[in-house]
Amino acid sequence: MRHLLSVLLENEAGALSRVIGLFAQRDFNIETLTAAPTEDETLSRLTLVTTGDDRTIEQITKHLNRLIEVVKVIDLTDNEHIERELMLVKVRAEADARTEIKRTCDIFRGQIVDVTVNTYTVQLIGPTDKLLAFIEAIGTSRILEVVRSGVSGISRGTKVLSV
């Protein structure tokens, strides 16, 4: 099962390496990881996408909590939540293909953020499956480069993760 974990972490040197080290050390899986400071610059917010059965996810959560610098951990997938990922895709866009690519972009609500004579760079924001669907629609033969940010997530409603 895929799970989205949100972690509040002390924004200190070396803290992130402990989180990553833990996953390697205990053979837990990380699909994506995003990390950046929050509005309170003493805290970082991480979103981790991982997979595992309930027992593994319980262990991951417990071991994350055991790290001294981890302030709080929640599993966003326990409740209604929003998840978004940003993707930049550079595609080959020769004259005869440009209209078609533009149309696909529009369907996916992507934006063309950079243009050259024979390439477009497309920016797309959405849940992971939407990004993957876009790659499929454009066709891998046309794609020159893909950069994905990893997933960021937040709970729906009034529920908040804070100190």
Partner: protein, 581 residues
Amino acid sequence: MTEMLSGGEMLIRALHEEGVEYIFGYPGGAALHIYDAIFKQQAIEHILVRHEQAATHMADGYARSTGRPGIVLVTSGPGATNAITGIATAYMDSIPMVVISGQVPHDVIGTDAFQETDMIGVSRPVVKHSYLVEEAARIPHIVKEAIYIATSGRPGPVVIDIPKDTTDPNELFEYDLPDSIELRSYKPAIKGHVGQIRKAVRALLESKRPVIYVGGGVVQGNASSELCSLAHKLNYPVTNTLMGLGTFPGTDSQFLGMLGMHGTYEANNAMHHADLILAVGARFDDRVTNNPSKFCPDATIVHIDVDPASISKVIAADIPIVGQCKAVLAQMLKNLDEELNGREIDSEPIDAWWEQIDSWRESFGLDHGLHKAESGSGKLLPQQVIQVIYRATEGKAYVTSDVGQHQMFAAQYYRFDQPRQWINSGGLGTMGFGLPSAMGVQFAHPHSTVVCITGEGSFMMNMQELSTCSQYSLPIKIVNLNNQALGMVKQWQDMQYGGRHSHSTYADSLPDFVDLINSFGHVGFRAETLPELEEAVELAFSDKHRSDLVFIDALIDPDEHIYPMFVRGGAVNEMVLNKYD
């Protein structure tokens, strides 16, 4: 007026104010400012070791025998990496320890400078927490926080890596040690959940075949007296893990002995047939569970642990209780009184359970293998050696061990009545632990008898510390169960590899241990027979040698195995009981 001190001076001052008596260490370039600060004071005694690994084991032995954190000081690079094995040993057994490592100055970090190692990176998987000092002025705060983290919750080792520029004697700072530490991200559990406690007590009272399974958490959590009260009140059988020995008296009739891979027949059978297991400060290690899918099929598992990550890690707990063993057991005792409300506990089912356990004990109890061996070889047996030491020390010595067959024989045959009396590397299984940890124990308890039970393989991994023992006049008694081989490896090779002793023997190249010991100024005896051993032991523990380090080289039957032993992949009651049947 606040005092102005250098980083090095602040470090030592803060350690002293935190109650530190000893630092076990070894100097080197990056640590020299700190060593100069040590030279200028008398409050803390520094013990100069011969190898940094030994320093960590000494601090570990000090910590295990007192409950107070052990302090280590090493230099950067090789000093730091040599300490890693000892840090990992402490981590696996949850031992409070603070390891201070010198580091190259900030301006050359990352340049592959002389004796530079990324200590924070190298130690990360085996520490509870670590600090790289960025500002000298923070040193007192970091020391206080490191000790707090090392000793609270589930204890463990903490590393403080100190770049040399932050201990510069020419740069002075206001010394400010905080009164207390408050961390928003670290709040160790204390009391257990009331509802869970009630559920656990009811399950205990309903049980017909209970076993109380106790691990090192009860030692570290100083919960032995609460445990004994609960067990005695209920008249339930108690078994200890290797790490838990001494938490329940080894001589108590309710004690089943150690459980696990080399546990007693009665302990392992009681576990397998139990309908309820109360696990206290134990972590269902693979040396205890054997095959987890066959583990205790009928038992409801109540699991008390201060570390939530230990609960349901290997074996799913039916009634998990997160909290300090001492607090939770006290809550349970109180709840038990409320639940009983003056009524007697129904003893009928427990009497029947004891009858069953006693019959296991009588049929294949601890001495079953020994009796078979005694009638066989005619040589000095390791079990007999432990029995002789047990009698000579009246069961009251601090006993450290190394790792291997001798460790298991000691665990089986020395009946520990007190927690912190038995000191060994259980989780990591570190050979070379015995001698230095005994030294740490002796520093902590200068007037107590400290025995190191070792084997010649383990002993040779840290025997350089005999020199440290001379320097500080440590009267440790070392008993070397010399079978001229890596006994446990050889036993596995006998049992699982058709007797092919691949690289487990070295009989022709062993030193004359008595000469070796004498060369360090210590006393050595050799014993090949039981009467010789008895004589040597009597002498070793006599007033004549009270202040001497005495080493007894006991030449034991090289073919003796340790039994019982789990059948690989089986349930906990599937054991090989001796090699003759």
